[in-house]
């Protein structure tokens, strides 16, 4: 017989369901002996819980007007955790009341000045005398704090306590006052680390949702910016929100985002990647189909294009959907430098992506099968180098790649002082010594190094990782079938990427199906005055960005060119 000693199963919501179902089954006499017995033994361990456990939290419960009964009920719900603050007081010295809050999540100064002080001292001035019959009147006339509402539901009241809400129960009232007074220690706004830029804004998101939404709203000041909130996770209950500009984002898209977010069912989501995995059109693909960014400026640009941004409290990143290949090729700096430079650097970046994906595969294919395609002199040098190497090219390369991946991982995980040591040992000792010892050829080291450097030029982490993994498959194909293998592998990837959609929009939109507007985001970085339309696949209704040409021309009459000349 399995004993359920834990109150909270640790492996996902399905386990909960199983657990609950099994217990119901037992009470119906289906012969699951652990059901009732398990429940009783738990009660014996924790007498204070009185049966309110994770699995059987009611959906709704009226608030008892008797404050003592409320207190007992609160013990059921919240237990006696020391971080739950309770403050007994009397309204105007007469009516008993109780404030409940989480110590460390509420602003105590505000609690005193905006809530307790007016209730204890100020109510009489407002002309309200106990007993309190009308809570709304009380809130309107005597409380000075913002974000106050009332509820008649015990469960809602209890649930809002961990959100940083102060809940006030009043003797004789079937209602409770909920006052949002959240304040907790946060990280300040720092520079983006994952997607840094030389020029341009240097703000990155933090772990606080409201701060993040304010960072976006500061850049998108149209009143039509909409933010929709919801709670995510039965245990985590984190705030999740999505933002869009009403009228720019297609209605169908917004509905679909709302539908997929509501569909999510999880215990806790500690990262936006968990959300991403539940939202994607192609959950099994290596390629990301929701764009992750830590930059408010990128979110703002996405919103202006008609995309939807999704943010989760407690994570310093936002998701942008739908996303296209073009977003993974763009880097923030493209738009913070002059457009010709932005364009040319983007080309180099695309070339680097290609190198990162295919360079080792092509090298192995050349060395193993197609020596006649290597210029003669180079071939001689390569052959000389490889003379002493004991391994076939494919194995040699996989060995080097594996070493490099391990070095990279080690360098990342270790504290910084150690990280340096790893890079010295890895780069100098292993790399150099391996060549000297004749284990690998210098050509191979160059290939692996070039690939590694190129892969760091991929501006987005998910895509960088996808390329890194796909590279191994391609390399093995190249090692077994030469160019044919490499090209077949690339074809497969092409078909796969062509088949991808992000919230219904083709991942390759702009390139295939091709469009002039789409290429401006992809093949070149068009100057700011050259883009008159929004991407057609995103906001079909309102494509026009500007009505007339804004290309600067000092010789045009309407710009006062005559005076200048």
């Amino acid at each position: 017989m399995r004993q359920h000693t834990h109150f909270i199963p640790t492996r996902g919501v399905n386990l909960f369901r199983l657990f609950r179902r099994r217990r119901q089954g037992a009470s119906r006499g289906r012969g699951q002996p652990e059901g009732e017995g398990g429940q009783e033994s738990r009660h014996a361990q924790r007498p204070t819980d009185e049966g309110i456990t994770f699995g059987n939290m009611p959906d709704k419960e009226p608030i008892d007007p008797d404050l003592n009964k409320v207190k007992a009920r609160l013990d059921d719900y919240l237990g006696d955790s020391p971080d739950i603050g309770r403050r007994d007081f009397k309204i105007a010295g007469k009516t008993d009341a109780l404030a409940v809050f989480v110590d460390g999540l509420v602003d105590k100064a505000l609690l005193n000045s905006g809530l307790l002080r007016p209730l204890i001292l100020g109510v009489v001035e407002a002309g309200i005398h106990p007993p309190i019959n009308d809570l709304h009147e009380l809130v309107r006339t005597s409380l000075t704090a913002h974000g106050i509402e009332t509820t008649g539901d015990m469960v809602q009241a209890v649930n809002s306590v961990p959100d940083g809400t102060v809940v006030i129960f009043i003797q004789g009232s079937r209602q409770a006052i909920l006052a949002t007074m959240r304040m907790w220690a946060t990280r300040s706004i720092e520079k983006p680390e994952e997607r840094p830029s030389v020029r341009g804004p240097k703000e990155a998101f933090t772990e606080t949702l409201r701060l993040n939404t304010s960072l976006v709203r500061r850049r998108v000041r149209t009143p039509l910016l909409r933010v929709e909130d919801m709670k995510l996770g039965t245990v985590g209950r984190a705030e999740l929100c999505f933002m869009y500009v009403k009228g720019l984002a297609a209605d169908g898209l917004v509905q679909e985002v709302r539908r997929r977010l509501n569909r999510m069912d999880t215990d806790i989501s500690i990262s936006v990647q968990g959300v991403e995995e539940c939202l994607e059109d192609h959950p099994l693909s290596l390629v990301p189909t929701a764009f992750t960014t830590e930059r408010p400026d990128e979110v703002a640009a996405g919103l202006a294009d008609g995309r939807v941004a999704i943010m989760l409290d407690g994570t310093p990143e936002a998701l942008i959907v739908p996303t296209q290949l073009s977003q993974y090729i763009q880097a923030p700096d493209d738009y913070y430098t002059r457009w010709p430079a932005g364009t040319v650097i983007r080309w180099f970046r695309m070339f680097a992506m290609l190198l990162a994906l295919a360079a080792p595969a092509v090298y192995v294919a050349l060395i193993t099968y197609h020596q006649e395609m290597i210029p003669q002199r180079l071939l001689m040098t390569l052959a000389q180098e490889r003379e002493v190497v004991p391994l076939p090219a494919l194995l040699e390369l996989l060995l080097m790649e594996a070493t490099f991946e391990i070095l990279r991982e080690a360098g990342l995980r270790l504290p910084r002082p150690f990280g340096q040591a790893v890079s010295i040992v890895g780069g100098l000792v292993i790399g150099d010594a391996a060549v000297l010892a004749g284990l690998v050829s210098p050509g191979m080291v160059i290939t692996v190094a070039l690939t590694a450097v190129a892969s760091f030029a991929v501006p987005e982490l998910s895509m960088h990782l996808a390329i890194r993994i796909a590279r191994f498959a391609l390399t093995i194909l190249g090692g077994f079938l030469g160019f044919f293998g490499v090209l077949t592998g690339l074809l497969f990837m092409l078909v796969h990427v062509s088949a991808l959609r992000s919230f219904g929009v083709p991942f390759l939109a702009g390139l295939a199906p091709v469009s002039k507007r789409g290429l401006k985001d992809l093949l070149w970085r068009a100057p700011a005055w050259a883009t008159k339309l929004r991407p057609e696949h995103l906001s079909p209704g309102h494509r026009q960005k500007k009505t007339s040409s804004t290309r600067p021309d000092p010789y045009r009459h309407d710009e006062g060119g005559d005076e200048l000349r």
């Binding site: 099968y369 197609h370 006649e372 395609m373 210029p375 079938l481 030469g482 160019f483 044919f484 293998g485 090209l487 077949t488 074809l491 497969f492 092409l494 078909v495 796969h496 062509s498 088949a499 083709p506 390759l508 390139l511 295939a512 199906p513 091709v514």
Partner: protein
């Protein structure tokens, strides 16, 4: 009845498919030179091919526009009775399958000649068919999008190679013009026509095109472009090797690329041909096998064509082994008096017949 294909493609994507078809055939076989007899006047034949293709495409387009929103399998029973419609459907499915098989075989043969001499061609064809089957399963839109990207690469390669080969052209090889009169030029112009008749794919893709009205213009532009590029190849081969030598080559395109040498370092350009070849055969086999599956599924009223993807791919793999005994036999099949009548009777004859019957009966489909 809902159609088995729900996707939409643009007319640009469809004509790009056809363009890739053309460039692929030129790169591999160049029937104009290999099976033609016009020799140094091949380029004239190439331009004539463009004219013939424009003509034979007309009935296909007229028929497609008569029933703009319906697949042929939907309107054929109304026009020519159900049994005849089934026969026509099977004929077209066979034609698409046969073409795909020929191309797959050609592709494997070139790879075995130029790149991987000892790799079993069954493996080469099989792996390619695996990717093709994956694309077929993903549907028309995905094939179209992949084609769009591949097309840009293949067009760039074709122009690059032609441009570089021009350095080696000895135009005196082309003189005298029309030394043998018009007759060989005319005969030769029918040699590539069997391949150019692949425009018939638009007849089957027409219902899925979102901007139907732009199709004829774009299609004719692509036919003209194909004819011009073919003429350039028809100039390049005799101008580089002389007419007799050019005809003797098994794979003219490969020979042209291998002969390119610019300033001592821009040579060994075979990889370019390999890229064009592999991505080209993907598009060609992908579209043709997809159409074979689609036509069969529609003709027999299947719920989905996807169940046919695997059988057709396996069939193509097997057929590609037995379609020809040797390249010599292939050459005989590609001759103007075999391949061209075979292809034209299906691609042009059948649509013409159906169009005539529909016109006589005054039948039309829904508005475009």
């Amino acid at each position: 009845m809902t159609d088995v294909e729900q996707g939409k493609v643009s007319s640009g994507q469809v004509v790009l498919m056809y363009f890739v078809f053309r460039l692929f055939t030129m790169a591999v076989l160049l029937p104009l030179v290999s099976t033609g007899t016009a020799g140094r006047d091949s380029w004239l034949s190439a331009l004539l091919v463009g004219v013939w293709t424009a003509l034979i495409t007309l009935p296909m387009l007229l028929l497609a526009r008569r029933f703009p929103t319906e697949a042929p399998a939907a309107y054929l029973p109304r026009v020519v009775s159900r049994p005849v419609a089934v026969v026509i459907g099977i004929l077209f499915a066979w034609y698409f399958l046969h073409l795909a098989v020929i191309e797959l075989r050609q592709f494997a043969d070139v790879l075995n000649t130029a790149l991987l001499r000892e790799t079993p061609s069954l493996l080469l064809t099989g792996l390619m068919l695996a990717v093709v089957a994956y694309a077929m399963d993903q549907g028309l839109e995905v094939i179209a999008r992949s084609t769009q990207i591949i097309a840009s690469a293949i067009i760039a390669i074709a122009l690059f190679v032609l441009g570089l080969s021009a350095i080696h052209w000895r135009l005196e090889n082309l003189a005298p013009v029309l030394a043998n009169g018009w007759r060989p030029v005319l005969v030769t112009s029918f040699s590539p026509l069997g391949w150019f008749a692949e425009t018939v794919i638009v007849l089957f893709l027409f219902p899925y095109i979102s901007d139907k009205h732009t199709l004829p213009g774009k299609l004719y532009a692509v036919i003209a472009a194909s004819a011009v590029i073919l003429a350039a190849f028809g100039t390049a081969a005799p101008a580089m090797f002389g007419a007799a030598e050019a005809q003797r080559q098994t794979f003219v395109g490969l020979t042209i690329i291998r002969s390119i040498s610019v300033a001592g370092f821009l040579e060994r350009l075979d990889p370019l041909l390999i890229v064009a070849l592999i991505s080209g055969v993907f598009v060609k086999a992908g579209v043709l096998l997809y159409l074979a599956a689609l036509v069969l599924a529609q003709t027999f009223g299947l719920q989905s064509y996807r169940g046919l993807v695997l059988p057709i791919s396996v069939l193509a793999l097997g057929f590609s082994r037995i379609v020809f005994e040797s390249t010599l036999e292939a050459r005989h099949f590609f001759a103007p008096h075999v391949m061209t009548p075979y292809a034209l009777s299906i691609t042009t004859g059948l649509p013409l017949l159906v169009l005539a019957v529909a016109a006589l009966r005054g039948q039309r489909g829904g508005a475009s």
